[in-house]
């Protein structure tokens, strides 16, 4: 029989071990990407176009492609997610409708990313005949981001003390005014956090966009909505398939490091937005 303190100690040790394992895996992964990636990264690599399917040259058009699709997806998702969140948080009275909306949002979040890719391929490329288009890719990524952004926005709106809205109504503001002048500005931190989190996930995705929005070689800046681009994750996929070529592998590590850095910056921005934009009521307590 173990004594009580012994059990306590064992339990604590198990928790510590779990935490240690998580940290170790994270550290090894990041260290590996940094060590292997740093060798490939240079000014030249970051700012010149890819040659030989990426085995030589750089990743400038993969960076621009990722940024272009990311920004466009954000701009597309923002109005939809915000309206949906306002409707869910302030306009729906019936609990049944609230549950229905929540279930739909969570289901949307649960759909695997490859399914989004297939949907895009069938609906846009085949039925609407758009061909490979970066803009369609942005639409699909926007759909993928919708749940994250909406949920964060709803959470921020719900946590806003009822007093703010009541004071607004008591001053004679209409429902529209209360939304525009009280609810929205005071939940901006939630919207921006959701956007950054969703974007951080979306820019790392390969599956939803590889059939519909990207090509693996010969792409530059798109001249119209109906051209493909190349992105960092799809480029890494292409390079990994040539892993027997050491140059290609080195560049894959370099592109990975660039992508990790990009995601890190977005997450850091989300963190800052959370603090800078959170309403007074939360900051003081």
């Amino acid at each position: 029989m173990f004594s009580r303190t012994m059990k306590d100690k064992l339990f604590t040790a198990a928790l510590r071990a779990a935490l240690g394992l998580c940290l170790a895996v994270l550290a090894v992964l990041i260290l590996a990407i940094i060590v292997a990636g740093a060798k490939a990264i240079s000014f030249e690599f970051l700012f010149s176009p890819a040659r030989d399917f990426g085995a030589s040259g750089g990743i400038i058009y993969q960076i621009t492609g990722t940024v272009l699709i990311g920004i466009t997806a954000s701009l597309l998702v923002l109005p939809f997610a915000t309206s949906l969140a306002i409707y869910r948080a302030d306009f729906v009275k019936s609990d049944r409708v609230k549950r229905m909306i929540d279930t739909s949002i969570y289901s949307l979040n649960g759909i695997p990313s490859i399914a989004y890719g297939l949907f895009g391929l069938i609906f846009f490329v085949n039925i609407l005949g758009t061909g490979l288009s970066w803009f369609v890719g942005a639409i699909i990524l926007a759909l993928m981001m919708l749940p994250t952004v909406t949920l964060c926005a709803v959470a921020a709106m719900k946590s806003l003390p009822r007093g703010y809205r009541e004071n607004g109504y008591a001053l004679g503001l209409s429902r529209k005014d209360v939304v525009i002048r009280i609810t929205l500005p005071q939940s901006l931190h939630g919207i921006v956090t959701g956007l950054m989190l969703g974007l951080a996930r979306a820019v790392g995705e390969t599956a939803p966009i590889m059939f519909i929005a990207t090509a693996f070689s010969g792409v530059t800046l798109p001249g119209s909505f109906r051209e493909p681009v190349s992105t960092l994750p799809t480029h890494i996929l292409a390079l990994a398939q040539q892993a027997t070529n050491p140059d290609a592998l080195a560049n894959a590590w370099g592109a990975s490091l660039t992508l990790v850095f990009l995601v890190f910056v977005l997450s850091a921005l989300a963190f800052i937005a959370r603090i800078r934009l959170s309403p007074l009521s939360e900051r003081h307590t």
């Binding site: 009275k93 003390p161 007093g163 703010y164 009541e166 004071n167 607004g168 109504y169 008591a170 001053l171 004679g172 503001l173 209409s174 005014d177 002048r181 009280i182 500005p185 005071q186 309403p279 007074l280 009521s281 003081h284």
Partner: protein
């Protein structure tokens, strides 16, 4: 139970600013106000007194229909504001709220400057810069806050003390130029000195406004009220002038509550 008295005892009946006839209110199935009839004279302070849960907040929040947004809240009966039916004559509910201002128990300032807070309810009115700063000054002076903040109108309102924030909320309500001011326990969350300031302010404001306020503090009611309404368990036990309510002529229940803050209804 005594019949609610429509006419105030011991005073000539003036034209009421607010009149309720057989007014009832329910949250879902819970009937919180039961056939309440009362009248509030203009340009005076009327205090709503009663034990916790007696429906004081519900009553005051029915006067500007701020409770309409709550799911399951229903009302029955007549509420007249200056002779206009509060429920039907105000199709535009924002017009009702412009006439009937309200200040809540906990001050809630918006995260913007002091001046912007004052102007929060008048954004839709076309005002020049000069008119705006005049309105800010006038409202802050009326709320006895001008002395404290005149040199930092652009400072964030959240930096004010709680008592100052409550006066800012009053200034903000006054800027909309209402006739009636509803105050739900306006001094409950401020320190005693600020509470005295706000009491003095209320006595000053009654020259221009009709004030209805909820208070738990019987002595406070004794200081500021012109009229008092004693509410218990959703029914009005007695209403009348302060002098009547605090005298020996008042009903035994009223006297018990005012003297011992205890009620057995």
């Amino acid at each position: 139970m005594t019949q609610p008295q429509l006419h105030l005892v011991g005073a000539p009946a003036p034209i009421p600013a607010i009149e309720l006839r057989n007014f009832s209110a329910c949250y879902g199935d819970l009937r919180v106000l039961k056939d309440v009839s009362l009248s509030v004279p203009a340009r005076s302070v009327t205090c709503l007194l009663g034990p916790s849960g007696s429906g004081k907040s519900t009553l005051i929040r029915s006067l500007n229909r701020i409770n309409d947004a709550l799911p399951g809240f229903t009302t029955n009966g007549q509420v007249d504001i200056h002779g206009e039916c509060c429920m039907t004559d105000f199709n535009d509910i924002t017009r009702l709220r412009a006439k009937v201002g309200m200040v809540f128990q906990t001050p809630c300032v918006f995260p913007c400057s002091i001046a912007q807070n004052v102007l929060f309810g008048v954004r839709n009115r076309k005002l020049s810069k000069i008119e705006k700063s005049a309105l800010v000054e006038k409202s802050l002076r009326s709320a006895a806050l001008w002395q404290d903040v005149s040199d930092r109108l652009d400072a964030p309102a959240g930096a004010l003390s709680v008592g100052q924030q409550q006066r800012l909320c009053i200034a903000r309500a006054l800027a909309v130029t209402p006739d009636i001011l509803l105050l739900d326990e306006p001094t409950a969350s401020v320190d005693p000195v600020s509470a005295r300031n706000i009491e003095a302010l209320i006595s000053e404001l009654k020259k221009d406004y009709t004030i209805v306020m909820v208070t738990h503090d019987v002595r406070q009611a004794g200081r500021v009220a012109d009229h008092a309404i004693f509410l218990c368990d959703g029914e009005i036990i007695e209403q009348g002038t302060r002098d009547h309510m605090f005298s020996k002529a008042a009903l035994p229940k009223t006297r018990t509550y005012l003297l011992e803050e205890f009620c057995d209804c």
